[in-house]
Symmetry: C2
Subunit: 224 residues, 2 copies
DNA sequence: CAAATTTAAAAGTAATACTATCAATTACTA
DNA sequence: TAGTAATTGATAGTATTACTTTTAAATTTG
């Protein structure tokens, strides 16, 4: 898997950035250290000025890559969903049995990332944490409809639909495959968050993972 | 119901505010118009300065009630959850049958608020929309653990636990009542949001409500 | 090697998120 | 009902954020 991903580039909507950060050393440094910094101080306290200082570069240089930090968040989270989508497709592609396939899909989507693997400048473990803590903020805005029209969320939407399709393939009678798919993807992030910060609101802990819970939920609720 | 709620005051953790907004006319105007304004411009663009202008009062006067807009959001959402909890308890209290009780609970928690009812200065319909769009932002912060310790989320937690208890009452064998409860409460907000902004990611629409979906999900997944 | 592009540095602007001071108003209390 | 306390409004001020602009130096590319 590692090897296969080596040269994969996640394709991000070009309107999200001004200049492709993958196209230069500075761009890659911006991505690398923005992940470290957002994880460290949180998205609210994160600024381009601080990031500039950290990477020994100037604020204005960063603005030539991203219009603002919201767009950078869109970039990072799009990258994450694209990376996850790749894993999903790669791992389920060869599975013919719909049940097995769906099981594998849920496993990949709900597990937490524990190994920083394939991309030199992108730490997927931290990026996973950023998605858990910050992804909602990228769409819970007044501009969501415009940005959706521009296609800023298309990778995420494609992922939800892929899982939805697998649910339908497993049980063509089930009526809520899209809602269930979006519930799993969003709900998994939420359960990971609760496990960390509100343990009394979840049954997930050291032993029980969100994967266990969602696997049980899905396979009990459909195809009875 | 309306009449019964008339004199109910939702009890909010005293550390959330500096001065109780229920204790003065100005305080009530702050609450009333902050709801209108946050709904109108979104939480990010909302400022105490703008609110002051709107209500013909001074920025600094608002700061005497709330430390910052984050605390105000905590106040508003706590109030909402407290109000919802009251409805839940009131409506399910007399139901003895665990299945019926749970059904009623899910209905109350997942429905959208369509009538501005009981409190003169609080518009519950708009507040419901604010909770859908902004609630996550109140806990997806670096300060969440401290604030949780201070009890800022206790009403919400109590609500999740109440629903969790009802699930357990209905099926004592089910192992994930807390996770399921938190999934329903958070997931309902999410499905309402998707219905509005990402219709392709949900099966909820004009006819199918989040209530329909969650009712199906819950009663198929437990007590088989 | 020259031209084009990219980056760094510095300075500037408007808005945000407050804090402090003081005077005017209102409320409460003896 | 006068006196005191509490509340509010007005003004001003600070530090930070979220940018934009300009210019010059460095780097890349053809």
């Amino acid at each position: 898997m590692k090897y296969l991903l080596q040269d994969l580039k996640v394709r991000i909507n070009e309107k999200i950035y001004i200049k492709d950060p993958e196209s230069s050393a500075l761009g890659k440094r911006i991505i690398e250290h923005s992940i470290l910094m957002i994880q460290e101080v949180g998205f609210e306290s994160f600024t381009f000025k601080k990031l500039g200082e950290k990477i020994g570069s100037n604020e204005s240089s960063i603005y030539r890559y991203f219009e603002n930090k919201h767009k950078l968040l869109l970039y990072l989270t799009s990258w994450y969903w694209g990376w996850l989508e790749y894993q999903l497709v790669f791992s389920t592609n060869s599975i013919a049995n719909p049940e097995e396939k769906l099981k594998k899909a849920i496993e990949i989507i709900t597990r937490s990332v524990k190994e920083d693997s394939s991309f030199s400048h992108i730490n997927e473990v931290l990026l996973n944490k950023i998605v858990i803590n910050e992804y909602s903020k990228s769409y819970l805005t007044k501009e969501v409809d415009e940005e959706n029209k521009e296609g800023y969320f298309s990778i995420y939407k494609r992922l939800v639909m892929r899982l939805s399709d697998m649910i339908k393939e497993f049980d063509s009678q089930y009526q809520y495959s899209s809602s269930l798919s979006s519930t799993i993807i969003e709900g998994a992030l939420h359960q990971h968050f609760l496990r960390e910060h509100f343990p009394s609101l979840t049954d997930c802990n050291k032993n029980v993972t969100p994967t266990t819970y969602f696997m049980n939920l899905v396979f009990n609720s459909i195809k009875k």
